[in-house]
């Protein structure tokens, strides 16, 4: 048989599963904690605060320009830790595989997870695999959880925005959502839109080094920049005003959004961070962002205001003002 497919018994706990774990996961993720093959991984921590997070990934298609479900599962969890200023250390992974999944695809996904983890400086130290009968899942679902250490003196959270603060972003918005959508719907555009999926801990580290008092960091994933900023406005009890002409959007993303009637402000990102910073330190943080490869396109896109608490407004290019509401319903399903 030329094509190897995932079989039900590879999740059954027997020999086939052990072969899968040893032959693929332990070898790909290679680290001493995972190689112990114990029921849980045990590691030392220094005194201090731990950050912990979990996320499940069901993106369709599983391979898209700029990444796949595996690299996304690592990046997403690393980013969720980074958004609290934590230094990500360890990740766990749970796979739910559909019987009949191309084993070559699984290998590609697992090895790109290993690459993503290595690049982000985290280790995948515990895992689980289940295989469900054909039709009971869609190819592969992945859950990752992560732990990280929050250095002392760091207090980054959604409730910390204050009137006068600057709203920064590290680059163009909407790339990931449009990359996935164009791939899924077979939209043939002149150039392929690539997902921005990336681990942001390096960039965030540099930003915190420039100014440890950053108030809010948030990655605008599902629901996009608009929804994320609405969450922050609500949590902090402040208003946020965006400047349309300052929001960076790639030409092809803007074009694809126009064709499909989508608003790029609501389209998901997987390698972007929104930072809210006191006005007198915004230049320092902005410079730090620009000096990192993932922050070259960094811009100040708005400001925090005291009026209209809990709401986000946009000053449009032609000088009008309008509300930027939270995403209601699903604009694009299964993008992460």
């Amino acid at each position: 048989m030329d094509q190897r497919l995932v079989q039900l018994d590879q999740g059954s706990g027997g020999r086939a599963m052990h072969e899968l774990i040893d032959g693929l996961f332990i070898s790909a993720f290679s680290n001493p904690l995972l190689a112990e093959r114990n029921d849980s991984a045990v590691f030392e921590v220094k005194a201090g605060r731990l950050a912990i997070t979990t996320d499940s990934y069901v993106v369709d298609p599983i391979f898209f320009p700029g990444g796949n479900i595996g690299s996304l599962a690592v990046h997403g969890t690393v980013n969720d830790l980074s958004m609290r200023g934590a230094k990500p250390l360890y990740i766990t992974v749970g796979f739910i595989l559909e019987e009949g999944l191309d084993f070559g695809d699984l290998e590609k996904i697992v090895y790109s997870m290993a690459d993503a983890a290595r690049e982000a400086g985290v280790q995948i130290i515990s895992g689980d695999t289940k295989v469900v009968p054909r039709g009971k899942a869609d190819k592969i679902f992945i859950n990752t959880s992560g732990v990280g250490i929050v250095p002392s003196g760091i207090d980054i959270g959604g409730a910390n925005a204050r009137p006068g603060d600057a709203v920064l972003i590290n680059g163009t918005v909407g790339d990931h959502g449009m990359a996935v959508l164009c791939k899924r719907e077979g939209l043939a555009l002149e150039n392929e839109i690539k997902s921005d999926a990336a681990a942001l801990n390096g960039l965030v580290g540099q930003m915190i080094e420039a100014y440890a008092g950053i108030r809010v960091l948030r990655d605008p994933t599902r629901g996009g920049v608009a929804t994320t900023l609405n969450e922050i406005a609500e949590q902090s009890g402040v208003g946020i005003r965006l400047f349309e002409e300052e929001i960076p959007i790639r030409e092809d993303v803007a074009g694809a959004c126009e064709i499909l009637g989508l608003d790029p402000l609501y389209v998901a990102n997987e390698g972007k961070v929104l930072a809210i910073v006191p006005p007198d330190r915004s230049q320092d943080v902005l410079s730090a962002m620009k000096s990192h490869p993932l922050g070259r396109g960094a811009r100040c896109i708005g400001e925090v205001v005291s009026n209209d608490p809990g709401r986000v407004f946009l000053r449009t290019r032609i000088g009008g003002h309008r509300l930027v509401d939270m995403l209601r319903g699903e604009q694009l399903p299964r993008i992460c």
């Binding site: 074009g255 032609i318 509300l323």
Partner: protein, 362 residues
């Protein structure tokens, strides 16, 4: 950015707004109806409404296809989705529109096979891939979408795909414009006419409205600058007492429109009476199947029973679509009716007036 930024030029927009603000208005308030939902959304997205002087009032009209689809047609679509072996295919917004007792979304969660497609040809492809099933596509939209759906029907016929049919709830605009003017419920001084529809039909279709009712019609595009130029032109016509059709979207719209698109539309469809939400039955305002193409008509293929239609009490979508009420004047707006739990289609659709007010208006 190519093709977009030049129509969003802030300086040009500013000078047009200034000209509108400083000009002399001899006739008091000028009421312009933007017929098209895409115009409504663009006006809100650019924050244009608040930049206009008080003498200019923009009234949103019945140009959102999902919104004007009558409750009875939503109920019929839901009935179709419930027939054994049927795959119901539709554009996205429609699945969330509440009918008398349910929505396609609710029926889907109960097990009906309802699939969202981006184009009618995708529905045809689903029919090809599922030869044992009946694939019904809900044909919705104005003159803009009707030709593409006609093309899918023709292709189904040519390639012998017999398990494909269309439930046509298409509408055409001029009869609705006439109905609005005949009803005299709201004074209209001018129309901003939809660019996309006019690409297909040509700006000529508005000549009759201008001639019979003396109301100027300005065809315009969808970028903020297009709309501003359209408004400026309409104001000029109203102030100088000239009833004319002016085409401000000349980069794509001609007087006669797209002959090929009209031809295929005319080949498959013929004018039919159609019921509009808010406006009621309007003669010749829909598109029915010509006799030779009846076998692709879902209404002929399935014998639909009479469905007892129930409107949501309190929903003012009809009034909003006729321009006699604005969404904030509706008792349900933002209280029990919102985009997550819409009571009427104007809140569901991406082009609906209530949805636009909810999303963009403070």
């Amino acid at each position: 950015m190519k093709y977009l930024d030049e129509y969003r030029d802030p300086q040009l927009a500013k000078s047009l707004i200034e000209a509108l603000q400083t000009r002399d208005y001899k006739r008091g308030e000028i009421r312009l109806m933007e017929i098209c939902g895409t115009h409504t959304v663009s006006i809100f997205r650019s924050g244009l409404r608040k930049l206009l002087p008080p003498q200019i009032r923009l009234i949103s009209g019945p140009g959102c296809p999902v919104c004007v689809t009558a409750n009875e047609d939503i109920d019929r679509a839901i009935w179709l989705a419930g027939q054994p072996g049927v795959i119901l295919t539709t554009f996205g917004d429609l699945v969330r529109v509440p009918g008398s007792t349910s929505s396609l979304n609710v029926e889907r969660s109960k097990g009906a096979d309802v699939r969202i497609v981006y184009a009618s040809l995708d529905a045809l492809e689903i029919a090809r891939q599922n030869p044992g099933r009946e694939v019904v596509f809900i044909g919705i939209g104005f003159e803009t979408t009707a030709p593409t759906i006609a093309a899918a029907i023709k292709q189904a016929s040519m390639s012998g795909v017999n398990n494909f049919s269309v439930f046509s709830v298409h509408k055409v605009l001029p009869p609705a414009m006439r109905a609005l003017l005949e009803a005299r419920e709201v004074r209209l001084d001018g129309f901003l006419c939809p660019g996309h529809v006019s690409i297909v039909t040509g700006s000529g279709i508005y000549e009759e409205v201008v001639k019979n009712y003396g109301v100027p019609c300005v065809v315009t595009g969808f970028e903020p600058l297009d709309i501003l130029q359209g408004i400026s032109s309409a104001v000029e016509l109203v102030e100088s007492g000239r009833a004319e059709v002016v085409n401000m979207y000349r980069r794509v719209v001609t007087r006669d429109g797209n002959a090929a698109a009209r031809k295929i539309m005319d080949e498959i469809f013929e004018p039919a009476d159609s019921t509009w939400r808010g406006l009621g039955p309007i003669p010749g305002s829909g598109l029915g199947f010509r006799r030779e193409w009846k076998n692709f008509d879902a209404v002929s293929r399935f014998s639909m029973p009479e469905i007892k239609v129930k409107e949501h009490p309190g929903c003012k979508c009809g009034e909003v679509l006729r321009g006699v009420m604005t969404p904030p004047e509706c008792g349900l707006f933002r209280k029990v009716c919102n985009p997550q739990d819409p009571k009427g289609p104007c809140m569901v659709s991406g082009e609906g007036t209530c949805g636009a007010y909810h999303r963009y208006h403070q």
